[in-house]
Amino acid sequence: MTTVFGIPVVVILGQLTLGLVNGAFYAMLSLGLAVIFGLMGVVNFAHGAFYALGAFAALVALQHFGIGYWPGLLVAPLCVGILGVILERLFLRHVYRLEPLYGLLLTFGLALMIEGGLQQVFGASGQSYPVPESLQGALNLRFMILPKYRAWVILASLSVCFGTWFLIERTRLGATLRAATENAPLLQAFGVNVPLLVAATYGGGVALAAFAGVLAAPVILVTPQMGASLVTVVFAVVVIGGMGSILGAIVSGLALGVVEGATKVIYPEASNIVVFVIMALVLILRPAGLFGRE
């Protein structure tokens, strides 16, 4: 058997594939954060809570309304997105002109309230969401057995990530959005409804988190805390990619998932800090992040 550093190649390939699955989640979550920060300048600490909320929305849709996985993949992010728009109109819009710290505190408070509320209703130990029937079973990739559902996660995440990137960087709507970040009063003078645009951006960003939550639901237990541990890593990913850089968030999300996967084989104990070590290195060597503009 071929080995690299004494580890069989098949094992490495398997772990890298799994790393890509985790990277897909990092990419989707950091993408939402990057969109919100890039266009609104708000560090959205509630992102992990919206991720959990998405998973619970899908769970409730399934258990109480008989809405299955596939429609749930649309319905849950939509509901969470609308909630995001409402929260933006009610609270968040008041902090744009203040220091960034206020937005951070506000979203942190929102996160605590959402997670506390979920815990009140659903309890702390969580619930299981079944894998949809069409995606049960596994693929034999020769070097590993990959459950079909995990393969779908990679596919879905890549499509959504690059779809979002295309929307913002290559379409007229995206151009308008970017114009709003450059000079909002001027854009408003042209007759564009900027507050609506900003609210929709926040809604879209948190809908991405909710989408990731629904994707994660069949893989891990749906608990109120499911986003809390993930979101710290995702913030590191955003910093590494460069705050607000959309492509940076996607690429570094996937890449860090793979790096983490490799660490799990070489030195498992370090797998939860490797991302932060890289973050520290990036901050020293390239403070604006790998894809950020200096």
Binding site: V11, G14, Q15, L18, G19, V21, N22, F25, G116, Q119, G123, A124, S125, G126, Q127, S128, V131, A138, M144, I145, P147, Y149, R150, V219, I220, L221, T223, Q225, S229, L230, V233, G261, K264, V265, P268, E269, S271, N272
Partner: protein
């Protein structure tokens, strides 16, 4: 004045002072504290349900002891040792705390045990499992009440090895509890003629367990020892099913609560061997407690819920018999007491602080075997308390090594 009259006067005066002291004491509530994870990963294991169970015990006891009403203080230790220890200290200094019920998390309970010794307030560890609490970290005021890592390993590991699961690989939570659990299980596996092929130490609350599981599968072991708890346990078992690892390896839960099995569902958890101190569906008495608890909490009680109920009763009984809340006298009474209630029929507290009682080795039912809601376990065997908790190790300076 005759000598006789003088004596009488002195006696009356003394009686007056005593009466005044008594009156002073009557007005003061007896305070039972509860420090637990009320908002995090382990909040369903004991949490709010634990506080409810303490209240149920107080109500069943009659609401008062030594003629004084009983109040309950509770707070969230947030799984932080410093928070648990400082809250405990505050209650002992300012609120007249008489006893503390310790919830989940071994690390927090180790910190609180130091306060118990310092402030001379008994600590009943109910939610935490680390057996160091009655060994290296033991104190004269600690009672380890519901279960510990030694009993879990003696139950699950021995049962699985005897059923043919000879070679083990562990998925270990990378903190005090996980490593203590793995060490205890490894010892039992070897003692029963099994082999330990290795372990992977997984950071606490990892987002994904699949890569660690593939490493376990690569080891060629036939048993997957899950030396973790709460969400980590559930997520690792879920992933093991998804990757088909449960077809080649038999999972063994070194700590699983009924709340975990409920959230996983029987489809995923079926066939799992685990050890528990208590199960709601053992006999009419446990079922009655289960029903009362269910009416309030909308879930069947875990072994910790029944444990903290019993711990509260045990302490109240000791206070009643000793006629005081003085910690040393109550502890002396506790070490003499026989414990018999719905939690255990033959419990007693050993010199090192372990409450020795029978444990149940259980197997999780298949969905077909389960006939009604929360019908999850079948009993593999009842393990006598002495076998479960083993001999006194001698690591606790308060208790000489026993050769039992």
């Amino acid at each position: 004045m005759t000598k006789n009259n003088l004596n009488r006067a002195l006696g009356l005066g003394l009686a007056g002072i005593l009466a005044a002291q008594g009156a002073h004491a009557v007005g003061k509530d007896i305070v039972i504290g509860d420090l637990d994870d009320l908002s995090g990963n382990y909040a369903d294991v004991m949490g709010q349900g634990g506080i409810e169970a303490i209240r149920m015990a107080i109500a069943d006891f009659g609401g008062t002891v030594l003629g004084r009403p009983i109040t309950v203080l509770s707070a969230d230790h947030q799984n932080k040792p410093d928070v648990g220890a400082s809250k405990f200290r505050e209650w002992a200094d300012q609120n007249g705390l008489s006893v503390l019920m310790g919830g989940s998390n071994t690390g927090v309970n180790i910190a609180m045990a130091k306060v118990a010794a310092d402030k001379k307030v008994p600590l009943f560890v109910v939610g935490a499992g680390g057996s160091s609490l009655t060994n290296e970290d033991c104190t004269a005021y600690t009672v380890h009440y519901a279960y510990d890592t030694t009993a879990l390993a003696n139950g699950t590991a021995a049962a699985v090895v005897k059923a043919g699961g000879k070679s083990w690989f562990y998925l270990t939570a990378d903190y005090a509890f996980g490593t203590q659990l793995q060490a205890a299980a490894s010892k039992v596996v070897e003692a029963n003629g099994g082999k330990n092929l290795g372990a992977v130490r997984v950071p606490l609350a990892a987002a994904d367990f699949s890569s660690f599981l593939l490493q376990a599968q690569g080891s060629g072991a036939t048993v997957l020892g899950l030396a973790n708890a709460g969400g980590d346990f559930s997520n690792s078992l879920k992933a093991a099913n998804e990757f088909g690892i449960t077809q080649t390896m038999k999972p063994a839960a070194l700590l699983a609560f009924i709340s975990n099995i409920h959230s996983l569902g029987l489809q995923t958890a079926q066939g799992l061997t685990l050890t528990t101190a208590w199960y709601w569906d053992l006999n009419p008495e446990t079922r009655a407690f289960g029903k009362r608890f269910f009416d309030k909490m909308k879930a069947e009680p875990t072994m910790d819920h029944a444990g903290v109920y019993s711990a509260t009763l045990t302490w109240l009984n000791a206070v009643k018999t000793a006629g005081t809340t003085d910690a040393d006298k109550v502890m002396a009474q506790l070490h003499k007491a026989k414990i018999s209630d719905l939690f255990t029929k033959n419990g007693y507290i050993r010199a090192d602080g372990v409450m020795v009682h029978d444990m149940y080795v259980m197997q999780v039912k298949t969905p077909q075997e389960s006939k009604y809601p929360w019908d999850y376990y079948k009993i593999v065997r009842v393990m006598p308390g002495e076998e479960a908790y083993g001999p006194i190790t001698g690591l606790c300076p308060l208790a000489p090594k026993s050769t039992l």
